[in-house]
C-alpha cells in the first residue's frame, strides 16, 4: 500500500502558488511560469497511474515541473542558436572609452550567495504559508504578496476591516515565528 495518495481536486489550491513561485525564480516571466505550472498539473493528471507513492504529492509535482522547465529552456535555446549574436561594446556615449572591465556588474552588489538565498526564499515563505490555516494564508497572501487594497479584500471575502487586521496579525505572528525557525 502506498504511503502517499494523490488527490488532484486539491492540487490547485494547495500547490499552485508554491509551484508558481518555484517556476518564476527560474524563468522570470509571469506568463511563461503560469503556462509551465498549468502544463505540470495536466501532465501530473495524465501520469497519475505512474505515481508510486514514495514521494509526497508536492515533491512529485515539483519533479514534473523541473522537467517542464528544462524542456522550456531547450526549446528557446534551439531558437537562439539560429540567431546571429551581436555584441556592441559601446551602446551609449556616456560610457564610451571605458574599459570593458569597468562595465561588468559590481561584484559586491550581488554575490552568488545572495542569489541562492533569493531563489530559496520564495519557497520558504510558501512553505510557511501552507502551514497556516487556509483563511489566514489567503488573506496574508492577498494583502502582503499580491498587494491588494484592504477594502477590496474585505469586499471579496465578506469580512470587516477590523476582522481583516486580526487575521493579518495572527498570520504575521505565525509567519514570523515560522520563518524564524526555517530561515534565519
Amino acid at each position: 500500500m502506498a504511503e502517499h495518495k494523490l488527490d488532484p481536486n486539491k492540487w490547485i489550491t494547495l500547490y499552485s502558488d508554491y509551484l508558481f513561485n518555484y517556476t518564476i525564480t527560474r524563468v522570470s516571466d509571469r506568463e511563461i511560469a503560469q503556462d509551465l505550472v498549468q502544463e505540470t498539473f495536466l501532465a501530473g493528471l495524465k501520469s497519475m497511474t505512474n505515481y508510486k507513492g514514495e514521494a509526497s504529492e508536492r515533491t512529485w509535482l515539483i519533479s514534473i515541473l523541473k522537467r517542464k522547465i528544462i524542456d522550456h529552456y531547450r526549446k528557446i535555446n534551439s531558437n537562439k542558436g539560429k540567431a546571429e549574436v551581436r555584441m556592441s561594446y559601446n551602446s551609449d556615449s556616456e560610457t564610451e572609452g571605458d574599459w570593458l572591465e569597468e562595465r561588468v556588474a559590481d561584484p559586491f552588489d550581488k554575490t552568488a550567495e545572495d542569489k541562492i538565498e533569493n531563489t530559496e526564499l520564495g519557497t520558504a515563505i510558501h512553505e510557511c504559508l501552507s502551514k497556516l490555516p487556509e483563511k489566514q494564508a489567503k488573506v496574508f497572501k492577498m494583502k502582503t504578496i499580491l498587494g491588494h487594497e484592504t477594502e477590496n479584500i474585505c469586499n471579496e471575502l465578506n469580512i470587516t476591516a477590523s476582522n481583516l487586521w486580526v487575521i493579518i496579525h495572527r498570520a504575521r505572528t505565525a509567519m514570523a515565528s515560522c520563518m524564524e525557525k526555517n530561515w534565519f
Binding site: D17, V37, L42, I125, W183
Partner: protein
C-alpha cells in the same frame, strides 16, 4: 492628551498597519513612544519588520486570483475528461 499612551494590542495593530504603510503620522508617533518603554512590542515590531522585508523581496511571488481561476478551470475540464476515460 491621555490617549497618547497606547495599550499593547493597539500598538501591535498600528505596527501591523505600518507594515503596509497604512498608519497615520499620529499613529506612528504614538507607536514610537510606546516602543520606548515596552519591550515586548519592540520585539514584535522587530520581527514584523523583518518579515515585511522578506516578503517584499521580488523573488516572492504568488498567482493572482484570476490566473488561479483560469488554471482551476482548465484543470477541472481535464479532470472530467480523465474520469470519463476510466
Amino acid at each position: 492628551m491621555s490617549n497618547i499612551k497606547l495599550e499593547c494590542h493597539e500598538a501591535n495593530h498600528i505596527c501591523d498597519k505600518n507594515q503596509y504603510k497604512e498608519a497615520s503620522f499620529l499613529e506612528k508617533v504614538k507607536l514610537t513612544i510606546h516602543l520606548i518603554y515596552c519591550r515586548a512590542c519592540r520585539q514584535y515590531t522587530r520581527k514584523n519588520t523583518k518579515l515585511t522585508k522578506l516578503v517584499n523581496n521580488p523573488k516572492v511571488q504568488a498567482l493572482d486570483a484570476t490566473a488561479k481561476e483560469d488554471l482551476q478551470n482548465v484543470f477541472e475540464r481535464e479532470l472530467v475528461k480523465q474520469q470519463q476515460d476510466h
